[in-house]
Amino acid sequence: MRFLRQVMVVTAKDLRAEMRTKEAINASFAFALVVLLLLSFAFDPTEETTRDISGGLLWIVFTFAGTLVLNRSFARELPNDCLDALIAAPVPGAALFLGKGLANFVLILAVELVALPVFGIFYNVRWTRQFWPLMLVLVLGTWGLTSIGTVFSALTVNIRLREVMLPLLVYPVLIPMLLGAMRLSALLVAGQEVTGDETVWFKLLFGFDIIFTSLSLVLMDTVLLG
């Protein structure tokens, strides 16, 4: 109970600070839009073949835009050495991780949910045909991205080249999970059901989320105290 209340306090703080300036979420969404545009030039989306790769495209955009939110997550604590105050407070690392993770999750998911219809229009895809399974993939994939990203955000926050190091470290770790999310999204966006062999990707997503979340919960204290 106490633990949960502290998690909520941290989440609420992050969300409130973000809502004041809306900088990370606006920028992240605008960035998603710009990348969507950029990719649509690189890969002519009117062709039939390109539509097959839309799942991949979607997750590329989500990952790039999500990284911005994640980058901000601990960077937000830097300006006045706020991180010190947070570490000094009697809050366990796990609560901090979950609190910040939840806030990031909400923000990234919000960006994704706005980007999805835009994507549908630009790439002329009727993505709603398998709505709920797609949402499940979105939630699982996003939580994977968030849990790894939050820990790595804490790891890289004091590095001079933070903005580069975060994606550099996170992307390779994410690749197996992204692969699953891409494959599933491609299927679902095309209106097909996930059956037979392909359900293994769902298991992979679940497995990843569980492993990374537990690793993060355990390691957060160490990361924060260096």
């Binding site: 606006n26 920028a27 605008a30 710009v34 545009l37 989306p45 009117t46 630009f122 002329n124």
Partner: protein
Amino acid sequence: MRQKVILAMLALAAVLLLPNLYVISMLPDEMRQGQIFRIIFFHVPAAASAMIGSAVALVASVLFLLTKNFRYDALAVAVTEVGLAFLAVNLVTGSIWARVIWGVWWAWDARLTSALICWVLYAGYLILRQALEEPTQRATFAAVYSIFAFTDVPIVYFSIRWWRTLHPQPVFFSKTGSFPPDWGRAFMINMLAVFLLYAALTMIRLRQEETQREIDYLRRTVHAI
């Protein structure tokens, strides 16, 4: 005084627009496109006023850089913000039109794309403003950005000439254009009404901006113990 001018403009726009809507609805359907062709009465004026807005923003930005007078900065924001809304109207109406005519909401042709980029550019302008706290710096940097952003506007305009586009070639103000005279009249009136609306909204926004600056000033004075 300002208030009255704004009200008068709004009233005039309404007087022009409302009867004209009736005229438009009574016009015969276009041969190939039918009903949907009427959307042009809003699609084009929205685009034209947004583009003129961009030009005004450019001029205001340059003037701000030259004079450092915050009036021009306020004008630039107001005009850009309203222009963004009008460009959105253009994009949405175009999109609806495309859905009916081409069967898709969006196609990546040069006109559509450059218009979308234009929207993103000016949205970036607003995001940049939001990110800068110090007002002088905000105004200066936004002005510089606005100048760069304007490079896209000629591309939007000329895209249909430079590239082979899905988007129709010009029908107004060109020799090849064929437009029945009664259509033309209704169109021009609509254009005028939309321009008036644009100008009125800009002025309202301008007033807001000035009030905001006053509030900022008062709050800062209070906070400076």
